[in-house]
């Protein structure tokens, strides 16, 4: 399944914005915008919502051992994770 990388980065921002209820703020995030520890909205329920949204939109399945704090460090690290998953 081929997804253009630019779309995945945009989709990542959209999903973050919706799951965390940021009302458009996430759409302006840069790749190096910090997530974990910097965004109070990113609690455990929000992480579940983000993972579920990625699965629904891209059709892959995320295993527990694939995610940790480094994946959610920045917008860029999260998008890179989705790119790897969508490309495999």
């Amino acid at each position: 399944m081929f997804h253009p990388m630019a779309n995945i980065r945009q989709e990542t921002r959209r999903i973050l914005d919706h799951a965390l209820g940021l009302n458009g703020r996430a759409l302006a995030f840069a790749d190096d915008t910090a997530l974990l520890g910097a965004l109070p909205e990113l609690d455990s329920m929000a992480v579940v919502a983000v993972l579920t949204a990625f699965e629904d939109r891209f059709g892959f399945v995320i295993h527990d051992d694939e995610i940790d704090g480094t994946v959610f460090a920045t917008v860029g690290s999260l998008a890179a994770f989705v790119e790897r998953k969508a490309g495999s």
């Binding site: 989709e11 629904d56 399945v61 527990d64």
Partner: protein
């Protein structure tokens, strides 16, 4: 508008059904297949509104509670995927015997997977209406288990939670999630369920919900739609700006989704 509630004698037991007759000149029939577990309860109101609108548009609608769900006989913990597919086929036969014209299968979320399972055995369906379809049973299963254990980003936190539950299920144990007992047999069959359809010339109408005015169909569904077109089906996708009513804790009613449902089935 009038509707009849009754118990259908399916091969595996009595199944609660609600039949909404076609109003005016009949255009065909629609069989509704509900989502998995809590998503079914949360979408009841919207399903009823959609059924009523379809009835007013000339479609007879049958809504069935699959075995162990809602008001049907049996316990959720004893339900099987094969049993649900049988229930769907029994409901389709009941509906086709009472309403002439094209028969549609309509699946919401995991109900789309049940519809695909039934269509592997049912010949003569005119169309398939997919509303925010679940793309694989494995995804449905993992998301359901994730409700119980959450997701932790801390090493040593809830890490392995979903995997531990899956191991329990594989070893033959039932697990309790959000008030539901999930049996190992159902989990095993669900994990193997896929949104694959036989080749043919059905109409397939897909509706996804996405926030915002410029929603795009998900890459995953777009890829499936391309496969179905290549297999001969006539596929259309639509994206509606509406909240995911099968998830929201507060009752969510979306007139735009009701209207899109009726529009999707309109003759082309």
């Amino acid at each position: 508008m009038a509707f009849d509630a009754f118990f259908l004698d399916a091969p595996a037991g009595r199944r609660f059904c609600v039949h909404t007759p076609a109003h005016g000149a009949a255009r065909g029939a629609v069989l509704y297949l509900h989502p998995f577990a809590e998503e079914m309860n949360r979408s009841r109101k919207m399903a009823a509104l959609q059924a009523r609108a379809l009835g007013e548009a000339g479609y007879a609608v049958l809504q069935i509670d699959l075995g162990g769900c809602g008001d049907s006989a049996g316990d959720f913990g004893d339900a099987t995927w094969a049993g649900w597919v049988e229930d769907a086929l029994a409901a389709a036969a009941w509906l086709a015997a009472r309403q002439a014209g094209p028969l549609w299968f309509w699946g919401l979320r995991a109900g789309a997977l049940v519809a695909a399972g039934a269509l592997a055995h049912y010949r003569g369906a005119a169309g398939l209406l997919l509303l925010q379809p679940a793309l694989s049973g494995e995804q449905v299963l993992r998301q359901f288990l994730r409700l119980k254990v959450g997701a932790s980003l801390n090493a040593g936190g809830a890490r392995g939670g979903v995997e531990a539950l899956l191991r329990d299920l594989e070893s033959g144990k039932a697990v309790e999630v959000a008030g539901y007992t999930l049996g190992p047999a159902l989990a095993h069959e669900l994990a193997a369920a896929a949104l694959t359809l036989p080749a043919g010339a059905m109409r397939i109408e897909c509706i996804e919900l996405a926030p915002g005015p410029q929603g795009e169909v998900s890459p995953a569904l777009a890829a499936l739609a391309a496969q179905w077109r290549a297999a001969g089906h006539a596929v259309r996708t639509a994206v509606i700006d509406a909240p995911p009513f099968w998830q929201t804790v507060e009752l969510t009613v979306s007139p735009a989704v009701v209207a899109a449902t009726v529009a999707a089935l309109a003759p082309q």
